[in-house]
Symmetry: C2
Subunit: 384 residues, 2 copies
C-alpha cells in the first residue's frame, strides 16, 4: 500500500510544460530557481543537504527544453540520477566566484540579449543566494532584465498531482499512527521535552523519513503558544498537551496536531475542544472547487467567534506539500479559488484567557468536496 | 554535567556591543537581519517555526540601543520571553503589506534620512523575505541606502563563546553515544533506510532535541556520494556504511560522521580509512591561533594526495555552530586566520574508483591548539 518513491519522468515533463506555457504567456525567456522546493519540483532532486546554507544551487528553466542544473560539484552524483541531463558544476565554495559566472553564461546562452529572466519574488518566496551575487549576476547579464515570475511557481505548486497527494497521504498516515501511540509516552510526571523526543522517535518508528517539524505545548487549561521549544517541566493533571508535527515521507509533509487532557478535562477545555472540532468540520463541509480560501476562513471564524476569542496565529490554515506551509492562506484577505488537487490544513485556534488551544487536520480538495487526509480526531478530547 | 539552556542577558549584550562597534567603524546606521541564525544570535529566539517559509521575520539592530523585533503576531508570546523589549507585530500573513510598512517605519525612526542600512550579503548569506518586498522597503525608505554588512555577522559568529562551545560539545557527546550504539541497529540484511530511521531514534534517545541532518551511504568498498537519501537496499558483507549527523542541542549543531565495515574490510578500505584518520590528525596537529583555514586544508590534502585522489566535496571542513555549516571553509582559497573559539569540522574525503569515503571530526581552536569536541574515531575501521 505504500506508494512508490520518486516520480516517473512524465510527471516532471508535465510540470515543466505547464511552467513553460505560462512563461510564454508572460514573455519570459527563462526562470531562475534557487530554493529547495522549487528545485526539487522540476528535478526530483531530494536531499537533506540543503540544511547546509553554504552553497548556492541554481536551476534554469529555459523557454524551451529541459531544466539546466548549475550546481556545486558535490551534487553531481545525485543529480545524475534525476531526469536532468544538462548538469554544469563548479567546485563550491569558491569565494572569488561561487557559480555566478557559470550561471551567467548559462542564462546568457538560453536568452536573447534583451531577454527577460524571471525570479520568484512574491509572497512566501525568497532568493537563496547572496544578495551581492545577485548584483554581480545582473551586471554580467546586462542588458537582460530580471523580473517577477508572475506567481507561476505558486500557481503550479498549489495544485498537487495524484502522486503528490499519495505521498502526503502516506505522511499523514504515519503521523496518525504515531499520534495513536502517544499514551505510551505521555503521562502525568513525564517532562514535556521527553514527550517531544519520544514522539519524534514514534514518528520515525512508524515510517517517517525525517521529522523536520515538531511543535506543541502543555499547560493547565491550555498552552502559552504553539511555537516554543519544549521545557523539562513534567505534565500535570489538568494540563492540555498538544503535539503538532510536520514529518516527511519521500519529501512531502503532513502538518496536523492532536490535543490530550492529562487527567480529566475541565469543562472549558472540553468545550473549547468541541468548538475547534466543530469549526474544522464547518470548513470541511463547504470545501469544494469554486469556494475561496477566505470562505473556509469565514466558516471557521463564525464558529470560533460564537463561543470564543481569536489567537494571534494570523490564519486558520494553509496549503502544504513539499513545504510545511504553502499557499494559500485561510484568511479573510485570500481570495484564492479552491481547485481539485489542493491540499490544505484546517487549523482553528481559541484563546482561553492567557492560554490557547489549536486543532489541525489536513484535507484534499476533490471534484466533489473535501477528503480528510489526516485520520479525523475524536469528537471529545482524549484523556491521558 | 549538561550545560544550562539559553544564555544570560550579558551574552546578548556582548554580541550586540560588538556588532554596534563594528557598525560604527563602517558608518552603518542600522542592520536588518532576516534569517534564523542571525535573528537568534542577537535575541535568543529559538523555535522550529522557521521551518514554515510563509512569514518573514525582521530584526533591526540600531546603531545604539537594543534590537527591535518586527515580527508576525504568532511570535509575540515566545519573543516576550527573550531580552528584547521593543516587539512590534503585525497579523501575518498579510498579502497587502506583510510587515513592510511596519519595518520601514521602524528603520526610518532609528536612522537619519541619508542613513545607511546594512544587510548581510556576502558568502553563505541570503535574504529571507520576498525580493519584491525588499524593493518596496527600499522605496519607502528613500533616500536611505542599503549596503553590505561588511562581513560583521560572519566575523562575530565565527568566534564562539564558552557557552556556545558548551552546547556544541553537548551535541557532539550525544551524537557520540548514538554512534557507539550503531551495532544495535545495523547489520548485514538490514535496509539502509531503516538504519537511517533507527539512527535518528538513537540520537533522540541519547538526548538530541531534534535531528535536522542525517546523511550517509553504504556500498561495496565505499559509497556513491554523501548527500543522497537512503534507499531500502539491505547492507551486505563488504559494504562500507557511513552515517553523518548534524543533531541539535539547545539550538547548536554537531556535524561529524563515522564509518563501519559490514563484515571484514577489504585492504583498500582499511587503507583508505587509515589515510582519512591520518589526514584528520595532520590538520588537528597544526590547528592553532594564527594558522589559516587554508593551512588545515593543505595539511589534509598532503596526506590525501600522497595515497589517493580527490572527491567532489569542494572542501575538507568548515565552521559549525548555530548552523550545520558556517564560515570559514577549509579550502586553498580561504585565508581566514584561526582564532580561539572557532569550532571547525575536519572532513577529509577519498575517491576509491567510482566510490568515496569521508571522515569527519569536530574541533575547537583553543589558545594552545586544537581540542576534539567529537569523541575521536577508532584508529582502524570498526566492523559490524
Amino acid at each position: 500500500m505504500t506508494p512508490d518513491r520518486g516520480f516517473p519522468v512524465a510527471e516532471f515533463e508535465t510540470r515543466l510544460a505547464r511552467a513553460q506555457a505560462r512563461m510564454a504567456e508572460h514573455g519570459l525567456d527563462a526562470m531562475l530557481l534557487t530554493r529547495e522546493a522549487e528545485f526539487r519540483y522540476f528535478t526530483g532532486y531530494l536531499t537533506r543537504f540543503w540544511e547546509s546554507p553554504t552553497r548556492p544551487w541554481f536551476l534554469v528553466l529555459p523557454a524551451r527544453g529541459k531544466p539546466i542544473a548549475v550546481i556545486p560539484g558535490i551534487g553531481t552524483a545525485l543529480m545524475r540520477k534525476t531526469w536532468v541531463e544538462d548538469i554544469r558544476t563548479w567546485s563550491a565554495p569558491d569565494p572569488e566566484d561561487d557559480g555566478v559566472s557559470l550561471l551567467a553564461d548559462t542564462l546568457a546562452a538560453v536568452t536573447p540579449e534583451n531577454g527577460s529572466i524571471a525570479i520568484p519574488d512574491g509572497h512566501e518566496t525568497s532568493l537563496r543566494m547572496p544578495l551581492a551575487d545577485l548584483g554581480r549576476l545582473q551586471l554580467l547579464l546586462q542588458p537582460r532584465s530580471f523580473t517577477t515570475d508572475h506567481d507561476i511557481i505558486r500557481q503550479l505548486r498549489m495544485i498537487k498531482s495524484a502522486r503528490e497527494v499519495a505521498k502526503i497521504r502516506e505522511a499523514c498516515a504515519i503521523a496518525g499512527r504515531a499520534f495513536a501511540r502517544v499514551p505510551e509516552i505521555a503521562a502525568p510526571g513525564v517532562a514535556l521535552d521527553q514527550v517531544f523526543r519520544r514522539f519524534q522517535m514514534l514518528c520515525l518508528e512508524e515510517g517517517a523519513d525525517w521529522v523536520p517539524y515538531l511543535a506543541g505545548g502543555a499547560g493547565p487549561g491550555g498552552y502559552d503558544d504553539v511555537i516554543s521549544p519544549a521545557r523539562p517541566d513534567p505534565l500535570c493533571p489538568g494540563d492540555v498537551l498538544m503535539l503538532d508535527t510536520g514529518l516527511v515521507w519521500d519529501g512531502y509533509f503532513c502538518d496536523f496536531d492532536r490535543n490530550w487532557s492529562v487527567g480529566r478535562a475541565a469543562p472549558p477545555v472540553e468545550q473549547a475542544y468541541e468548538t475547534l472540532i466543530e469549526a474544522t468540520q464547518a470548513a470541511a463541509a463547504i470545501a469544494r472547487p469554486g469556494q475561496r480560501a477566505a470562505d473556509l476562513f469565514a466558516a471557521m471564524q463564525a464558529v470560533l467567534t460564537r463561543d470564543a476569542t481569536d489567537t494571534d496565529a494570523g490564519r486558520l490554515g494553509h496549503g502544504l506539500g513539499m513545504s510545511l506551509t504553502e499557499w494559500p492562506s485561510l484568511i479573510a484577505a485570500d481570495d484564492t479559488v479552491l481547485q481539485p488537487g489542493m491540499v490544505l490544513t484546517l487549523e482553528p485556534g481559541i484563546s482561553l484567557g492567557d492560554r490557547i488551544m489549536v486543532h489541525e487536520e489536513n484535507i484534499l480538495i476533490t471534484p466533489d468536496g473535501a477528503e480528510y487526509l489526516s485520520p479525523v480526531a475524536p469528537a471529545g478530547i482524549p484523556v491521558l
